[in-house]
């Protein structure tokens, strides 16, 4: 219930905000070459003369019945646009997130286990650097290195997973790496911190006293308890990634939700913006739900 309210809230904020921003949906819908008259006709056709509240009400009523309307740019239905774009973003986000987790979790564990030693310092430094590097800079460097000089990977474009998974991977890997850098660094930092906290706990000493090997103590007893704060960060990163990353999608020419929504914003394509925000909102809710569920496995105390 509250999640539904959240979605309505997010939609409403977006809707009114877009209308507050200078720029005329009718004008962009009519196109750059349109005449005054065409613009006016477009405005009529789209009902943009109506009160904003009426407009929003109309949108929300239709949205509830499952109709997200159609793009002001050419009339493609929003649900179709989103169903084409979201899988792309989803694939990219999941790949990036998995990469981040695969790199960050072992790194954090190694760092925490060797707290204060050189390995730890090194990992911490790399993690800080990961947060520090501008995303698009990294992306560009990868393109230069892997596409322009060595030509091992395509610099841009996209091929759907179900058509050819290998091809998909070739297209997705560089963007995924680019996107993964910052989340990996952040997850590593967070997990290292909570691991160190957990390793100071009495029950870790108990586990050692039980005769478990250091590896088991670390990977079973400590990791599971350090999982909650780490999951929070992972969830947060997931929601970022699922919203679609404009810059990375642009650099690599990936037709994802980010590119769709940024274009929609630039063109004041309100139905598409609303649709994209709704999807992003739902993604956030689902991720939060998953994170909550994971809390339950990590920490039985949560209900």
């Amino acid at each position: 219930m509250s999640s539904l309210a959240l979605l309505v809230m997010v939609s409403a904020i977006t809707f009114f905000m877009i209308l507050l921003v200078p720029g005329d949906p009718a004008m962009t819908a009519a196109g750059p070459e349109a005449t005054e008259q065409q613009i006016e006709e477009t405005r009529q056709r789209l009902g943009l003369h109506d009160n904003v509240v009426v407009q929003f009400g109309r949108w929300i009523l239709r949205a509830i019945s499952g109709d997200l309307g159609s793009s002001l740019q050419g009339g493609t239905s929003v649900s179709q646009l989103i169903s084409e774009r979201f899988p792309v973003t989803l694939g990219l986000a999941l790949t990036a997130l998995s990469l981040a987790v695969i790199v960050a979790v072992p790194a954090a564990i190694i760092a925490a286990a060797n707290r204060g030693k050189t390995v730890d310092r090194l990992i911490t430094l790399v993690a800080s650097a990961g947060v520090a590097i501008p995303t698009f800079w990294l992306g560009l460097m990868l393109v230069v290195g892997f596409s322009l000089y060595t030509r091992v990977l395509p610099s841009s474009g996209y091929s759907p997973f179900w058509e050819d998974p290998a091809e998909w991977l070739r297209y997705i890997i560089m963007p995924a790496v680019t996107l993964a850098a910052a989340p990996a660094a952040e997850i590593a930092r967070q997990l290292r911190g909570s691991m160190i906290g957990v390793l100071e706990q009495d029950y870790v000493r108990t586990a050692t006293a039980k005769g478990l090997l250091p590896r088991v103590v670390l990977l079973k007893h400590a990791l599971k308890n350090a999982g909650v704060p780490a999951m929070t960060v992972i969830g947060l990163q997931a929601t970022f990634l699922l919203g679609g990353s404009l810059i990375v999608e642009q650099i690599f020419g990936i037709p994802g939700l980010g590119a769709l929504s940024i274009n929609a914003v630039l063109q004041r394509d309100i139905p598409v913006i609303q649709g994209a925000v709704l999807v992003a909102g739902i993604a956030v809710l689902i991720v939060n739900l998953l994170v909550d569920l994971s809390y339950r496995t990590f920490n039985p105390k949560v209900r």
Binding site: L6, V10, I13, V21, W137, E200, T239, A280
Partner: protein, 303 residues
């Protein structure tokens, strides 16, 4: 290792009762900070950056805004230490000038993020209940909106320009600060010393300022240092979309953004600002970590 720590603290009694030695907070902070070599290096570097920001215009070898369309994209030379940009301007001088803009941008965004997030986070966390739910509802709504969309909308409403862009970034950051603060307030709130202070009859405002605030300091510092770095990176992204620094101002992000099309012809245009941003952001993070560790709770565990 609660028990051991306590025992350890008791071992310090004689030191405490030595009547002359006064422990000044600043002295202890300094001694702890100086122990963290990486932090010291980072702080020294940041100090240097601040100095450059202050006196940069005086030491810049050339006028950073002087265009020379006859000599664009020139590789580094004796005349132009770091080459020239796409309008023939001296990259080194622009980098020096950009320091102030970029730093200011980071400070503005962070300040706004903290100004919004900190009080609301304190209130939400400490009061809990309905207030908390309302604040968190709005917070989650803002958080689940794609950041860039928000930024565009806010900049659209305020008009283009670096300050406005930073206001936008600040607003986008605020929910994150809010969450960090609220999280640690929830933790601190349960501490007995807060209850003890309440039992004395301390007013709410005083409890928040005197007890809660100093104890959420550590996570806040980390959050802020991360954010200051993030702000620089986001400024770069927004400049990339034309919403950041405006002509003739130079910001590192803007320099980086506009160097995009010349990757293969003038890679140095990307390399220098990219590295500058990365190093400064890294310095923020490292110094922030060191600061946290030096300001941390006054316990013995980390000495």
């Amino acid at each position: 290792m609660v028990a051991t720590r306590r025992a350890l603290e008791q071992g310090d009694i004689p030191q405490a009762s030595g009547s002359t030695a006064r422990t000044k907070p600043w002295t202890r902070f300094r001694s702890r900070f100086l122990k963290q070599k990486a932090g010291v290096v980072a702080a020294a570097f940041l100090l240097l950056v601040v100095i450059v920001a202050a006196i940069g215009p005086l030491v810049a070898p050339l006028d950073p805004n002087e265009q020379n369309l006859g000599a664009i994209l020139k590789y580094p030379s004796a005349e132009h230490l770091l080459g020239t940009d796409d309008l023939g301007r001296d990259v080194f001088s622009r980098l020096l000038f950009g320091t102030r803009v970029s730093l200011l941008a980071a400070v503005q965004a962070t300040a706004i993020g903290v100004a919004l997030g900190l009080p609301l986070g304190l209130i939400a966390g400490y009061l809990g209940g309905r207030t908390d739910r309302v604040i968190m509802f709005v917070n989650d709504a803002v958080m689940s909106m794609p950041g860039l969309l928000l930024a565009i909308a806010i900049v659209g409403m305020l008009g283009p320009g670096l300050t406005n862009a930073m206001v936008a970034i600040g607003i986008i950051f605020a929910p994150h600060i809010l969450r960090i603060v609220r999280g640690s307030v929830l933790e601190v709130k349960e501490e007995t010393y807060i209850e003890a202070s309440r039992s004395i009859g301390t007013p709410l405002s005083r409890i928040i300022f005197q007890h809660v605030l100093p104890n959420v300091r550590s996570p806040l510092i980390v959050g802020v240092s991360l954010m200051a770095g993030r702000a620089m990176l986001n400024e770069a992204s927004l400049s990339f979309l034309g919403m950041g620094a405006q002509y003739p101002e130079a910001s590192w992000g803007a320099m980086l953004g506009r160097a995009f099309p010349y990757v293969d012809r003038a890679p140095f245009l990307i390399v220098f600002p990219g590295i500058t941003i990365a190093v400064v952001v890294l310095a923020f993070n490292v110094a922030g970590d060191a600061l946290r560790d030096s300001l941390g709770r006054e316990t013995r565990t980390n000495s």
